[in-house]
Symmetry: C2
Subunit: 197 residues, 2 copies
Amino acid sequence: MSHPEYQRIPPQSGTSFTIRRGQVLRVVDPMGEQVSDLFAFAEGEHGCALSSGRSLDYAGHIYLTTGDILYSNNSKPMFTIVADSVGLHDFLLTPCSQEMFEILYKHEGHHPSCFENLLKGLQRYGIEAPQIGTTFNIFMNVKMDPAGVVTVGVPTSKAGDYIELRAEMDMVCGLTACSAEGSNNGCFKPIDFAVLG
Amino acid sequence: MSHPEYQRIPPQSGTSFTIRRGQVLRVVDPMGEQVSDLFAFAEGEHGCALSSGRSLDYAGHIYLTTGDILYSNNSKPMFTIVADSVGLHDFLLTPCSQEMFEILYKHEGHHPSCFENLLKGLQRYGIEAPQIGTTFNIFMNVKMDPAGVVTVGVPTSKAGDYIELRAEMDMVCGLTACSAEGSNNGCFKPIDFAVLG
């Protein structure tokens, strides 16, 4: 693999890029306690997209980490997690959105969101809003108690923590530095990433 | 409301139907320990579809029951649960599919599945496979331990148990009697339903 040349996603923003089968996406939390939402489509076949429900079903557990596979809605492996210094990522919740800030936090006026930032980034590939489903929420600390009550905690990621995902097909990806105060200990920070290999 | 006139979904099959805003979908487990997968789209706007990720985020818990709302991907209320004699339904896993039986159970040859049955039913409304996401899996007993390990148990529903969901918009719905041995205590049974009001 070539030496990582990181790209920085500024706070409360996002980006999009292509990745080839066999390349590795490395996502780094440069300052700690920051979340990054990932979504992906098969290149040239956008009906094939990341699926939380299939991935959790096939893994048999909800906290995906090294060795686990992220599947598409039509049961094709999209990513294999090949390294993970954190081990706590969420694959249950949809990306934060304008509507989420209004419904959960009674926010008035525009609020930056991962959903908006993913859509902005992915539109150049022809992706439309309804195609963006439940994201793989890297470094997001979502816990459930035995009764099923969901709690969003401060990410456990420290500065420099990372995850590496090997692409199992050619894809277009959207990736964010999360915009939600409640997911990032009240502070907005950047996310670094590199496509290796 | 009019007197319920139930329709029966035979074992390992499915159906589709329209429902008007304000009507109530009543789903009954006539023999006990059977699962029924529900998916829905806004009528005439199929980009607006049921979203597990949004519903769990807004509810703040993963076991949705009376009083909880099932949201669309664009954050519109689709159903409100208005009655529920069971209180244990899954909204994490995708409907069982041919690929699921192959990947998880090494099944060879065709296996009936909720995904296939939903698609068969919904195709007459112009719905295609990639549009069918994570279903609301009525009566399905999915538990997680604190480490996030997922266990599919025998449904706790007894003969005659039911759930009622009020439609918050005009929709097209797919509904099944589940095809997976592992979800239904190894026995395939029918599901009854009625659209009330």
